[in-house]
């Protein structure tokens, strides 16, 4: 159960480059829910994901995960129950370390790192079986340095790292956007498998309307730092990509009238 209350976030506050990234965001995600997030560029969806991850702290508002207030906790402190996959396949893995070492680090997520040899034969066996699930013939290359793998392979390993120790929340940040279509499909399939099998509470930001409708059981739309629509599973079944596009174009029309005028009035009269 994730609860976001009255989240505000501004960047470069007080300067001419001020960006109001999130305005008064409220969101509740129930356990086991798989939420896909779509929105225009700069709508705040990535900021929202980073607020959940703890890499960005909100200006105001509270974040609770399973009843715990984690508002002020930083990323490594939340890592005990949150895991994430980055958009950039190079971000999720340490390139100069081997597959096994990367997996070990993921396996120790939220644990203390003692100076003892954690990469024992038993663990290696376990990692081998998990890597085999990726079906990328990586199971015999555990000691290969990650930097030599392709982007698709690295992203698949990143995904495995995110789920290797059951997280309470899984954050996916457009994690297939930077991949070629074949790899993207493969990683998407793996994502679905892992989430279904683990019944993971998932928050997935995506660019693809198609993906947003196909995956998950709830979709939220963001615009200008606000959640402007929340589509339930039932409703999702009826929607098409064109419907979603219509929603966005309606918004743009409305914006022309309101956005500018409101700003103007505010400047004139306040």
């Amino acid at each position: 159960m994730i609860e976001l209350r009255d989240i505000h976030k501004r960047f470069n506050a007080g300067t001419m480059h001020e960006v109001y990234a999130l305005r008064d965001v409220r969101l509740e995600i129930r356990d086991g829910e798989f939420v896909t997030v779509i929105g225009t560029n700069g709508s705040g969806k990535s900021t929202l994901l980073n607020i959940l991850a703890g890499t960005i702290l909100p200006d105001s508002g509270t974040i609770r995960i399973d009843g715990r207030d984690v508002t002020g906790k930083r990323d490594f402190e939340r890592a005990r129950f949150i895991s994430r996959v980055f958009q950039n396949p190079f971000m999720g893995t340490a390139p100069d370390m081997t597959i096994a070492e990367n997996l070990l680090l993921a396996h120790l997520r939220g644990q203390r790192h003692y100076p003892r040899i954690g990469l024992n034969a038993k663990r290696r066996e376990f990692f081998k079986s998990r890597v085999a699930e990726l079906e990328m013939q990586l199971e015999d290359r555990l000691d290969t340095v990650i930097g030599t793998l392709s982007g698709g392979q690295r992203q698949a390993v990143s995904l495995l790292m995110a789920v290797i120790r059951q997280p309470e929340v899984l954050l996916l940040d457009e994690h297939t956007a930077a991949l070629d279509p074949k790899s993207a499909a493969q990683v998407t399939r793996l994502t679905k498998t892992f989430i279904e099998r683990g019944k993971l509470t998932t928050f997935m930001v995506t660019h693809s309307m198609q993906q947003a409708l196909e995956l998950g059981n709830r979709t939220i739309m963001m615009h200008q730092g606000r959640i402007i629509d929340d589509i339930s599973e039932r409703e999702k079944g009826r929607l098409t990509v064109d419907d979603l596009l219509d929603k966005f174009s309606e918004l743009r029309k409305a914006e022309k009238l309101t956005g500018e005028m409101i700003e103007h009035l505010r400047r004139e009269y306040l």
């Binding site: 990323d75 190079f90 999720g92 390139p95 370390m97 680090l105 100076p115 003892r116 030599t148």
Partner: protein
Amino acid sequence: MELWIGAINLGFVYAFMTLGVFITFRIHNFPDITVDGSFVTGAAVTAVLVVGGVDPVAAMALSFLAGACAGAVTAFIHTRFDVNGLLAGILVMTGLYSVNLHIMGKSNIPLLNEPGITAFLRATNPGIPYELLFCLVFAFVILALWAAVSLFFRTDFGIAMRATGNNAAMAGASGVNVNRVKTAGIALANGFVGLSGSLVAQYQGFADIGMGTGTIVFGLAAVIIGESVIRTASFYGRVLGVILGSIVFRLMVALALDVGLNPIDLKLITAVFVLAILIAPKLFPGGKAGAASGGRRKVPARKKAAVFAALAAVAVLLAAGYRYFHAGGPSPGREPRIGVVQLSDHGLLNITRDSFVEEMRALGYENGRNAVIELGNANGDMVTVNSILDRYLRDAADVILTISTGCTQAAVSRIKDRPVVFATVANPFIIGAGRTETDHLPNVTGVYGPAPTEQLVEIVTSILPGRIRVGCIWDPSQQNAVFNVERLKEVLRLNGNVAFAGTTVSGSSEVYQAAVSLAAKGIDAFVLTTDNIVFSAFESVVKAASAKKIPIFISDVERLGDGALAACGFDYRQSGVQAAHLVDRVLKGENPAAIPFERYSKVTVGVNPGVAAMLGISIPPEILARANAVAADGGGNGRPKRLALFLFSDNHLLKIVADGVMDELKKSGTLRKHNVSVDLKNAQNDYGTARAIVQDMVRKRYDFIVTASSLALQATAGGNSTIPHIFGAVTDPYRMGVAKTPGDHLPNITGVATVQPVASTVEAMRTLFPRAKRIGIVWNPAEVNSEVCTGKAREAARRYGFTLLEKTVGSTSEVKDALSALLNEDIDLFFTSGDSTVILALPYIAEVLKEHRIPYFTNDPTDVDRGAFFSIGADYYEVGVETARMAERVIAGEKPAGIPIRDYVPEKIGINEELAKRYGVTFPGELVKRAGIVRR
């Protein structure tokens, strides 16, 4: 063999440091400069603790901790406040300098006879050469280090640490507290560096405040070499590579020294070498190195190794070539070879060395003719001493002369198969050269002697008969000082009439207080035995003593003139002379084992009649009869005096001045007559260096300073107000604040002022061009000298009926426009005087003026060769001669305060006949006769 084993050993002890650099540079991705400081911190902590009696193992552990603390501070600044890592490192390194000085309390702590690794290994040595034993023992230590560090980086914590450096975002997302792990890593790295500093201090036998300089570069060099030697992703391989890199690097340094490169070039060679390795992959496009992340490892290992080998080979060849051409080829012939090594540029050591070389010549060994006498100076670096010794061994030196205790200790422990003769050593027995004068190491002999305490006491008691009490000050942290004081106490005990009162100090700043308190206790005399710290503050003893009219007796004859009543010490010239005779005997085939150690045979007794008169003490005639040195202000020329000739830069004019000064001083015989030696100082055009030179001259109490150039005058006047100072090659001393008029100047400063002969030039213009009206001049108002000259030009122009048309510029590039503007105003003549900005454009100006048929006048006669028409300038050789003449008056005893500044312009004329023909002008015959430079 020793050379290579020694290099490997250094590689071992530096391997800890290299690992530290590897951890910051490769694991945490930034080169942490803190290591330059934490290296010294480690050495300092061990040195202080070991001297203080702490167990060496505990001391090393604390060195590790101290280094780690330094690293933690850097990491804290870097992570907590987001300060750039390099900058944080620089800040901490800078601060550590002070911290390290505080830890040590002085700039250098000797560890030669302290417990520690060296002493332990010597004590347990089963009888193999020491270096070899060290090598074998450390091979195991390093093996353990390798296994431990490799394993560490495979542990959970090690993997987390690697991840933070490799991909901080991913590490954070995996629950690693990036900042904390980074701090731990940098602390660990600097802990290793501190431990390395501790080991190096023990290995080389001392800790020194300057030993850390360049550590980061050596570390990076070793890491990079290691990665070229072993290319693998495995951590066992990488750590092994780093250790090997440290060893290979030291071997290369040894090689460079072995082939005869100058030790002072080492750091430059290192920097070039590291650069070469860094850019090699780009110069030899064999692999796709550096193309993308992970690219480093895609380069075929063999290709990289080949490139590396080729580079190393080129380096060796270059070095070998250097040696071949600079050392006259590798064939030594069979003339005797003598290798001389001294620890530093200390006065006593220089005197010993010079008198040795001189006496050798008298004995018929002339360097370069029938003997090879190589002089090595380690510049205070013990590691370099070892390398110099190793080089002499390689070069098959027949005898090795070691000057100073430190060098001798290194030599006796290192050299077994070659005669070693030592000189200027207080006590050869405590460093293991022998047990008695006749029972000593078979290959070692030499000249030694503790200060002649008995004779000193004898002088004290004959000048001050009856029951007296004498006071002594010493620094107990110096072994040598304690040794001397103990001897003094012993001698006094035997003499029932003299009581002893003593005070110890822990630094030169405490000496004054100590002297005052002793004086207040009512002592009858100060008796000071050799102690560097006390003597560095000798003036404060004099101050305290003269307030109470207490005489001072010292063992350092060199300081007699500074206010002591009498001195009794060794003549270190004699040390060199005696050593030369020993070397001669060894070269003639005598076995050193059969030559007993010699004591200095000549004791110098000195008295200072001026001080005696002031204190109202009469010196007994038998002491006066024994005195072979009398302080300067009592007349006579006993003590050698020193003159510093200080140039600001290598500018050719200044060199001409220096030549003039030196020629005149030599020709007049002043140097010989007054026993003055000349040291040349050159600030290399750097004001900071100039200031350091001035401080050094004051600290070393030079007797006279001669400066050439305005900046040298300015720097010296700013830092010295006591030593007589004669300046030359200065345009305007009045503007620089050293004088108001020629007669009214600072009391210790006088000299020769040489202005540009502006008025004479303008006068010549009138003579040559009676009808000319307008003179053009371009000058830079930012130049003081130019402003003075232009002022004079205005005045002279008025006097000779010219109009001076001026244009000012701020840089050389503006000269062209200024000149065009003047040409528009119909100038008849053009003039440049003492302006460095404009003179740079001289060839251009000359060309333009030639086209417009306008004669060009300047104030440097050599300008006529570059297109000037007529020039009157100062003859700087004559300026040098005149400056030297004034210095001679001061050396002869005149006070500078009584010598007025002399305005002296020895005019030298340059004329350009070629242009004269073109302009249809004839130079008057008298002018041609006077001209020093004529261009036809």
